[in-house]
Amino acid sequence: MAVATSVEGAGSSQPESASWTLKLREAIDRHLPMDHLLPDRQPYYVGSWVYVFGVVTIAALVWVVVSGVVLTFMGPQWWHVSGVGRFFNSLHFWSVQLFFIFMVLHLWGQYFMAGWRHGRAATWMIGVVIFGVSVLTAFTGYLSQQNFDAQFIAINAKDAMNGAGIGAFFNVLNFGQMYGLHVMLLPIGVTALVVAHIVMVRTRGVVKPIDAEGGAQS
């Protein structure tokens, strides 16, 4: 950040143009004004239940993270034995089921309306990456259950990982590695990508229906 050193500069309200903070602020103002980020009105074609699938996916993700934080604090003794712990364990599991179901429904909706049109290819591709990272997060979650099911899955999955040549980097028999990935690295990745996905959707708005523009155009 540039620092005003002259007497005139110190009293000026105009920051120097070389300031990266100024450039960043202007870029945010230019590309993401608040009426785009938090709109109170939407185009008429958004009046469909298909557009609700993405929002429900985000709601499910919130429950996944909240229940996951509680499980992380309390530990496996709690989530396997106590009634409240088993409730939160189930809450975590079923919110993940809803997250995946509505993410796929959102995927179907965006596929059939060709949601990648008009400069939205990056938004679509980030969604694809979110799906992949979510599958990896769910997989490490199955390995983090601390029960016989987790051991069975780990023993059977190790051959697939070794066959793919990634067993040395992604050792499913290493509980610490799988648990660390599941509760820290991968959730941060999914959440950051979802935030980027939403910001990109809000920047460009919702894609117009194909009929509204007289046929599918790229």
């Binding site: 185009p43 009046g47 239940w49 298909v50 179901i101 429904l105």
Partner: protein
């Protein structure tokens, strides 16, 4: 509850009954979302809705 589930096998497709039911439910939900009217979906003069 402890008995293995049944599987459907058509050619190269092998799927368990629970997984098939989940996918069928998703297809039904998607179809319902397409045909069910959305409340307050009427547009203003500028084509936007509140």
């Amino acid at each position: 509850m402890d008995t293995p589930t049944t599987y459907f096998h058509w050619g190269f497709i092998l799927i368990s009954t629970p997984n098939l039911l989940v996918i069928a439910g998703m297809v039904v939900l998607f179809a319902i979302a397409l045909v069910t009217p959305f409340p307050h979906a009427e547009a203003d003069d500028d084509g936007r809705r509140n």
